[in-house]
Subunit: 244 residues, 2 copies
C-alpha cells in the first residue's frame, strides 16, 4: 500500500480569489513523484477552530499532512494556534527558533517577529541543518509557509524522507467519444481491479479527443492491463493515435 | 450576512498532479464578484462514498455548493451517483436529458452516452433554455463538468441568480516587515471587528514587501477603517507606497 497524504491550504486570499494557490499543484506533483498518494486537498479560511478541526481530521485519515499558509507574524496567521488546538497542546516559545529570529533580524527585530518562534508544545524541527528556518512538524503534520518560493525550498530539503515505490504511468490518446469506450474500460477494470485508470475528454484538440491514463506501482501488472486495453480497443476498430 | 458557498472539485487527475484545477480559481473569482463568500474548497477522488460524504457535509454547511468533474459517461464519472447517495435518492433516467442526448449524438449514439441522462431523483434542470445541456441541481448543490470551457459557459448562464451585495475592496502596499505592523493591524481590528483584513508578505519585489487588503460590504465602514489604518501607520513613519 502507498502512503497517503492530505494537503490543507490555509488562506482567505485564495478563497476570495485574490491569490491563486500555487502550492497544492506543486506538492501533488512532487508527492506523486515520490510515490505518495494524495487523497484530499482542502482550502480553508484563516480561522483557528476551522484549522483545528481540519488538521485533526486529516491527521487521523492520512499518513502525512502538509499545511501551507498562515505562519507569519500578523493577526491572520493562525495556523500554529490551530494545529496546537487540534492536538490539545499549548503554544510555547521555542528557544532555538527565537535565537534564529534574533540572529536574522538583529537590530531590526520587533516583538511581532518573535511571534514566529511560537509553536505547539512537542513540535519537532525538521531539516534544520543549514536552513535559516526549519520545517515545524507536529505528529504527522508538516507545516509550510504560503510563499511558494520558501515552501519549495523547505520541501526540497526534506522530500527524500517521504520517498516510496514509484507509480508507473502509461498514456493513450484516442479519437473517439467516451461513450463508445466506457464498456471497454469497465471490462479492463474487471480483470485489473488494482489498475488506476483515468479517462479525460478533450473538446478542442483536432488530433485526439480522449486521454486515457493507466497507473500502477507494479510495472508488469501495468503492461498486462495496457495490452488487454489495446486488444479490446482494436475489436471496435480503435487504434491509439499516440501513447507512451 | 453574505451567502456562503463551498466548492467540491472531483477528480483523481488533479490529486495525482496530471491536470491542474482551473475551475476553482474561476469559480472563487466569479462568486466573489457576485458578493458570495466562498468558505471552503475540497479536492477529492472519484470515489462514490467520499463524494456522498463531502457533498452532504458541504450542503449542510453552506448556502450553495458547486461540484466540478466526474459527470461524463465512463467508469470514473461517479459524481451523480455520489450526490444521489448524499441525499438518499435513487438515480433515474431523465427523459428530457435523454431526448437532448439522442438529438445531439443522432446516429453516433451508443449506450455509454445515455449514462449522462442518469441523474438523482428530484434533481432540477437549471438554465436549460438554449443550452444544449442544462445545469443539474439537487437541493442546494449545482453540478458542473470538469472541462473548464463547458463549466464556464454553463456558469455564465446561471450566475445572476447568485448575485448578492458586493464586497468593497481597498489595497495598500507597504515597504515594511510584517512584524512591525502586526500590532497596528490588531488595533484596527479591535475597532473594526467586521473588517476583512489581509496581510501578505512579498519577498521578491523591490518596491513593496507587504500588501494589505481591506474588505467590507459596507463602503462607509471600509473608509473609516482605512482612514484609521493610515493614521496608525503614520505614527510609525510608514506611508503606503501605493494603494487604491
Amino acid at each position: 500500500m502507498s502512503k497517503s497524504a492530505g494537503i490543507i491550504v490555509i488562506g482567505n486570499e485564495i478563497l476570495s480569489g485574490k491569490t491563486r494557490d500555487e502550492n497544492s499543484p506543486y506538492l501533488v506533483r512532487e508527492l506523486r513523484g515520490l510515490g505518495v498518494d494524495v487523497r484530499k486537498i482542502s482550502v480553508i479560511p484563516d480561522e483557528r477552530d476551522l484549522i483545528s478541526r481540519e488538521v485533526l481530521e486529516f491527521s487521523n485519515s492520512y499518513d502525512y499532512v502538509f499545511t501551507t499558509g498562515g505562519v507569519g507574524p500578523t493577526h491572520d496567521d493562525l495556523t500554529m494556534d490551530g494545529i496546537a488546538g487540534a492536538f490539545g497542546r499549548r503554544m510555547y516559545r521555542d528557544p532555538d527558533l527565537e535565537a534564529t529570529l534574533r540572529y536574522h533580524y538583529a537590530q531590526e527585530l520587533v516583538d511581532g517577529n518573535l511571534r514566529m518562534a511560537n509553536i505547539p508544545e512537542g513540535a519537532r524541527l525538521v531539516g534544520g541543518k543549514g536552513m535559516w528556518f526549519p520545517v515545524v512538524a507536529v505528529e504527522n503534520v508538516y507545516i509550510f509557509p504560503g510563499v511558494p518560493e520558501i515552501l519549495q525550498r523547505k520541501f526540497e530539503r526534506i522530500k527524500e524522507s517521504f520517498r516510496e515505490a514509484p507509480f508507473y504511468l502509461r498514456e493513450l490518446y484516442l479519437k473517439a467519444d467516451e461513450g463508445q469506450i466506457a464498456g471497454i474500460l469497465h471490462h479492463v477494470l474487471a480483470d485489473f481491479p488494482e489498475l488506476l485508470l483515468g479517462s479525460y475528454p478533450y473538446f478542442d484538440n483536432p488530433v485526439y479527443s480522449i486521454k486515457l491514463t493507466l497507473e500502477s506501482k507494479d510495472p508488469e501488472y501495468l503492461e498486462r492491463a495496457h495490452d488487454m486495453l489495446i486488444i479490446e480497443l482494436a475489436k471496435i476498430q480503435l487504434t491509439p493515435i499516440q501513447g507512451n
